[in-house]
Subunit: 324 residues, 2 copies
C-alpha cells in the first residue's frame, strides 16, 4: 500500500519509514529535512521535502496515499509549557488542516501519534485503559486530545477513518538528545560528557518506557492487521520510577553521576503506566525488550556502534554529539 509518513525524519517517524519500506510498502517520507540528511534508508522510500506549515505541501503529499501517519510535532511537553498557545497556533491548527486534506484526498486512514500518559492526566494507580475519561493537565496533552476529537469529527463529517495511537515513553536509537524530550537519551548523553542529571521531583515519578523497535513493531501490527477499535494504548505496560532508571543507568554505564533535583511542574503526572490489554486482545502479546537490555543497546550505539538500520554505515545515531 502507499503510505505517507509526516515527520519522517523524526525519532519515531524515521523508524516507521524503515519498517514500512522493509515490508514492501511504497513509502513517502515527508519532512523539512532542515538540519540533517535522512535518518532512515532513503534508497527505500520517496523523500518529500515539505513544510508542515504549508497547506499546498500537505495537499500534494497526501494525494494518492492509502495510509497517512501523522508523527510530526512542532512542540514537546516542555516547549508547550513555556508558551501555552504554541500548540494551538501551530500543531492543532495545522493538524486540522492535514486532516481536512486527507479527507479531501479520500485517504483511507490517518494514524495519529497521541500521548499515552499525559492524556489521562491522573496519578491514581487505576489502570489507564483507553475508555478512561481523559483529564489532560498540560497544554501538550490538551492539544493531543483536541486533535483526537477532531479526528472523530472528520470521520463523522467526511468519512475519514483513523487510528489514535496513545504512545507512552519511547526511547532508543535516533532519539535526538539535543531536544528536551526523552529522559533516557538525555541522561545517557550527559553521562557520556560527565554532566549531572536533572531529576524532576523526588525520583518516584513512574513512566512506561518502551524501546523504539518494540513500539515500531506494535504500530506495524495495528497497520497490517484488523483491530476492533480506533484508539490503542501503545507501551510496555510496565512502570519504572525515575530512581530505578537512574540505578540502571549507573549499572549499565559503569559511571556515577550527580543528580540535580528540581521541583516537578504541577501539571506533571506522577504515574503513567499504560494498560495495553486492548492491543494484546486485538493483535496478540507484543514482544517487549527489558528496560535493561534497551538501555544497554542505546548506550552501546551512543558509544559509536554502527547504525543498524540507517543507510550510512558508521554514521552516529546521535549526530548532534559528533563534530561535523
Amino acid at each position: 500500500m502507499r503510505i505517507l509518513v509526516i515527520g519522517a525524519n523524526g525519532f519515531l517517524g524515521s523508524h516507521l519509514v524503515d519498517a514500512f519500506s522493509a515490508l514492501g510498502h511504497e513509502v513517502t517520507a515527508f519532512d523539512r529535512f532542515l538540519r540533517q540528511a535522512p535518518r532512515f534508508d532513503p534508497t527505500k522510500a520517496a523523500v518529500f521535502k515539505g513544510d508542515f506549515l504549508d497547506n499546498r505541501d500537505l495537499a500534494r503529499a497526501v494525494a494518492g496515499q492509502d495510509e497517512v501517519f501523522h508523527f510530526l510535532s512542532a512542540t514537546t511537553p516542555i516547549t508547550a509549557q513555556h508558551d501555552p498557545t504554541i500548540d494551538v497556533r501551530v500543531n492543532i491548527t495545522q493538524s486540522i488542516q492535514l486532516f481536512a486534506e486527507c479527507a479531501r484526498a479520500r485517504v483511507k486512514r490517518i494514524h495519529f501519534a497521541s500521548t499515552g500518559g499525559a492524556v489521562y492526566g491522573v496519578s491514581a494507580k487505576a489502570p489507564l485503559i483507553e475508555d478512561r475519561s481523559p483529564q489532560p493537565k498540560s497544554p501538550y496533552a490538551i492539544g493531543k486530545l483536541a486533535l483526537e476529537h477532531y479526528l472523530e469529527y472528520f470521520r463523522l463529517e467526511a468519512g475519514l477513518d483513523y487510528r489514535v495511537l496513545r504512545i507512552s515513553n519511547p526511547y532508543g536509537p535516533r532519539q535526538a538528545p539535543d531536544r528536551s524530550q526523552g529522559l533516557i537519551p538525555i541522561a545517557l548523553r550527559r553521562i557520556l560528557s560527565g554532566q549531572p542529571l536533572t531529576q524532576f521531583g523526588d525520583g518516584s515519578m513512574v513512566r512506561d518506557f518502551i524501546y523504539v523497535e518494540d513500539l515500531t513493531r506494535m504500530i506495524r501490527d495495528t497497520l497490517e492487521r484488523e483491530g476492533r477499535h480506533r484508539t490503542y494504548n501503545l507501551g510496555s505496560g510496565v512502570g519504572t520510577s525515575v530512581s530505578e532508571v537512574f540505578a540502571l543507568l549507573r549499572d549499565i554505564t559503569g559511571r556515577d553521576f550527580a543528580v540535580v533535583r528540581r521541583s516537578a511542574p504541577a501539571t506533571f503526572v506522577n504515574r503513567a503506566v499504560l494498560d495495553i490489554s486492548r492491543f494484546t486482545a486485538d493483535f496478540g502479546e507484543p514482544s517487549i525488550r527489558s528496560l535493561r537490555e534497551g538501555i544497554q543497546r542505546t548506550w552501546d550505539e551512543l558509544n559509536g556502534a554502527k547504525c543498524t538500520t540507517g543507510s550510512e554505515p558508521g554514521r552516529s545515531l546521535f549526530p548532534a554529539l559528533r563534530p561535523t
Copy 2:
C-alpha cells in the same frame, strides 16, 4: 466586587451586565460595540470598547478586576462547522491569552461560558451530569472542551480559580436573530415575516431550552454563593423536541408556517438535556419559566413591546429587524 464581562454586548453578556449592575457591583462591559449601541444599561456600567483579538486591550481590561466573565465567542456551532479551524485560530488562541492575562493580573476567578449539550456529545438518554466523560463531536464543542482543560492548566500552573458554566440552549430578548444560533428567535422572526422554518432532522431532536432571565439568575447564584464544584450544568433540566417547539410556536403566534426539512449534520447531538442536580444541591432549586411562557414573552417583545431591562425605552429588542 469588580466584575469584567467580556462579550458584554452579546445576548448573554448584556443580561449579565444588567444583572450584576443591579446588584451593586462595579461592572466593566468589554465589547467591540461594532454594530450597535450598548444593549445593556450603559449608565450603570463602565463601557470598555476593546478588541478581543488585541492582547493589550485584554491586559488593560482585566487589570484590577475581581471576577471575569468570558462570554464572547467569535463563532457559533454553524460557523465553526463551515471552517473547522476558525475556533482554533480565533477563539481558542485568544481565550488562552485572556486566561494568561487573568493569571498575570491576579484576577480572583474567571467564569467561562461553555456548552452544555454539545460537550457531552452523546445521544443516549442517560443523564448528562458534569462528571460524565465528554465526547465532543463538533469543532464548536471540541474548542469549548479544550478551553475547559486550559482553565484547569492555569489553575494548577498559576493559581487562577475558575468556574465552567455548561449552558444549554438559552433564548429570549436580545438574542440576535440575524445570527445562525438560537432556534426560537430565528423561528419567531421568520414567522413574523412569513418565511418557512428550517428543521434539521425529523423533528425528534430534543434540546434543553432556558429563558435568558432564568439563566442569568442561575449565573448570579453561582457568583454570589459558594459552591463545591468548578463546573456546573446550567439549563432547565427539561427536554423539548423541535416538533414540540414548532407546535408551541403555532399555538402562541396563532400563525401557521411551512417547514423545510434538511438532514441533520452527523455531528448534531440528537438529545441534549442537562442534569442540573449539582446546581440545585449547591444553590437551591432554580426558578424556571415554562417554555410556553418564555416563548410568549419573546414573541410579545418581538412585536414591539418595550425593552424591560434596557436603557432606551421603546428600542426594539431585535434591532436587526427594524429599519434604522
